[in-house]
């Protein structure tokens, strides 16, 4: 498994687009600068600022879309170039292969959110919009890590779809539909869609957030867990069946 993960890193050489996608982590912190700059409020708290720059659209839309594209890219070359048969006769396990892709998505996701956290701090402090406090910074990093760690699990269904396809069009379409569905369902039922479940976990202890449903951590983890297990099983079965 360690060999598989190491080789996954080697495969990323010269894939500049994957690293360019990290730039999208700057989007919400920059928007927050403009938004709060235009508002010209004097009493902006770090929590208010970070909700905008890190906890909201970044975790609801930007990160899931980026992870969906990343997962598709990781699986695309091997699917498109018919490389899987060469890998199977090494041999490597189908499940190990899928999980090694997941590990890369996981690490990327955490890195993405850590960059978001750093940029949020810089975007808030440098223009003097918010004060630098240890509590708010540590809370920001904790929440960003939570989002970074949970989002890959919530995106496992998309990774499973990408594993079953030779092309990239369907997985990318599924990424978009899946992400926006997660965002829409947030206000309907938080425990049906893994991305909504992830949001429920993340906002669980955040002040001043009112949701239609009461937050139930068990249901949220159960939702993500069931979808994750189902996705891993589906990916394993489809990889075994592909001839």
């Amino acid at each position: 498994m360690l060999n598989l993960i190491q080789t996954e890193f080697l495969k990323l050489r010269r894939k500049n687009f994957i690293f360019l996608m990290l730039i999208s982590s700057l989007l919400m912190p920059l928007l927050a600068v403009f938004y709060f700059g235009a508002a010209k409020k004097a009493d902006i708290t770090p929590m208010q600022f970070y909700k905008w720059s890190a906890y909201s659209y970044t975790s609801w839309i930007i990160l899931p879309v980026v992870l969906g594209i990343l997962g598709t890219m990781l699986l695309y070359d091997e699917n498109q170039n018919d490389m899987l048969k060469q890998l199977w006769i090494i041999p490597i396990s189908k499940l190990g292969y899928f999980l090694s892709k997941f590990v890369i998505v996981f690490l990327y996701s955490v890195l993405f959110m850590m960059i978001t956290a750093v940029c949020s701090i810089l975007a808030g402090i440098l223009p003097g919009t918010i004060p630098l406090t240890a509590d708010s910074v540590s809370y920001l990093f904790l929440k960003c890590f939570e989002i970074g760690a949970l989002a890959p699990f919530a995106m496992l269904p998309v990774l499973a779809v990408a594993a079953s396809q030779k092309g990239y069009i369907l997985p990318i379409c599924v990424t978009l539909v899946y992400t926006f569905l997660g965002f829409i369902l947030l206000m309907v039922n938080m425990y049906v869609h893994p991305l909504s479940g992830m949001t429920a976990i993340v906002i669980n202890d955040m002040p001043d957030i009112v949701m239609k449903q009461p937050i139930d951590l068990k249901s949220a983890f159960l939702c993500i867990g069931i979808w994750s297990i189902a996705s891993i099983i589906c990916a394993d079965v489809t990889l075994r069946k592909r001839q």
Partner: protein, 307 residues
């Protein structure tokens, strides 16, 4: 056969209503080069995929090193190097980087394994050209390098000279031969190019429409492909009737309206010529010829020739 490295027993592959491979019994012996010869779409790749366990077998069994692949992948696969169809690699990586990935996944411990494999196929080590910029021939060479990277006992090569130039074909042929002769590797190679198989293989299997029509050693095949009488006549339809009625032979093949191959060379040609002329058939020529492998292939497959 006790020394069979690959042995298939009546393997069959059915896709929907189409039978791609039908009851094939293949025997590849240790240290020999087995050439699987057949036209495009004859079922060569499917057989190789079934042997490697990449495609499920509808019925029958395929054993490698005396064991079924299913359930023994970890013991069997490290002993095999294979190219199936066009070898695919990571387009963003160089040849060396691609092979380093495969070496790592295989747990290859030999430090110069990648360099040596590239040297064998004549590709540069640590060059900057990525796989996406490789020519077809270079891609094929890299595929072969990957197959021999871990020094396997058995090589399964599906049309390994596809896309190579004539010099490249000769080079690949030469090192495949060396691998068998000098290093004792067992090689199963498929091709639709008859001349290539005839120059390489020790044993040959002729496949057509998913059926293995003949399996024999090349030496036996050459002996078998002995002589025939080439008859050029004004009307082969009439001539064949006379051969059947008067000489009681069906051992001939009609090539076209004026050419006929008669395989019963012991027949009295003077009598044959006379009988034909008496029936108003002009005999333009009759001569003793040696059958080529291509002629033999045509005869066995009952159709057109092969490249």
């Amino acid at each position: 056969m006790n020394d069979a490295v690959i042995e298939t027993k009546q393997i069959t592959k059915v896709y929907g209503e189409q039978t791609a491979v039908n009851r094939v019994d293949l025997h590849v012996r240790k240290g020999r080069i087995y050439g699987l010869l057949g036209r495009n779409g004859a079922g060569k790749t499917t057989i190789m995929k079934m042997i490697l366990g990449l495609v499920s077998i509808t019925s029958g069994e395929a054993d490698l090193f005396g064991k079924n692949v299913k359930g023994n992948e970890k013991q069997i696969y490290p002993r095999i190097g294979a190219i199936i169809e066009m070898p695919g690699f990571y387009p963003n990586l160089t040849g060396t980087e691609n092979l380093e990935i495969f070496a790592k996944l295989r747990g290859t411990t030999k430090p110069r394994a990648v360099q040596e494999a590239l040297e064998v196929v004549g590709l540069p080590y640590r060059d900057k050209k990525t796989f996406s910029k490789y020519s077809l021939g270079m891609k094929q060479r890299l595929g072969i390098a990957n197959a021999i990277l871990h020094d396997p006992e058995l090589l399964i090569l599906d049309e390994p000279t596809n896309g190579l130039d004539p010099i490249g074909i000769a080079e690949v042929r030469s090192f495949i031969k060396d691998l068998s002769v000098e290093r004792g590797k067992t090689i199963l190679i498929s091709s639709h190019i008859l001349s290539e198989i005839s120059l390489l293989a020790d044993d040959i299997g002729i496949i057509n429409n998913g059926v293995l029509l003949e399996e024999n050693s090349m030496a036996a095949l050459k002996k078998k492909n002995g002589k025939y009488i080439l008859l050029q006549v004004s009307d082969t339809a009439k001539a064949s009737l006379i051969l059947e009625r008067k000489f009681h032979t069906k051992n001939y093949s009609v090539q076209d309206a004026h050419t006929l191959h008669l395989f019963d060379t012991f027949l009295d040609m003077a009598a044959v010529n006379k009988a034909l002329m008496l029936e108003d058939i002009s005999v333009i020529s009759s001569q003793l010829c040696n059958d080529t492998l291509e002629d033999y292939f045509k005869r066995v497959t009952g159709g057109e020739g092969i490249a």
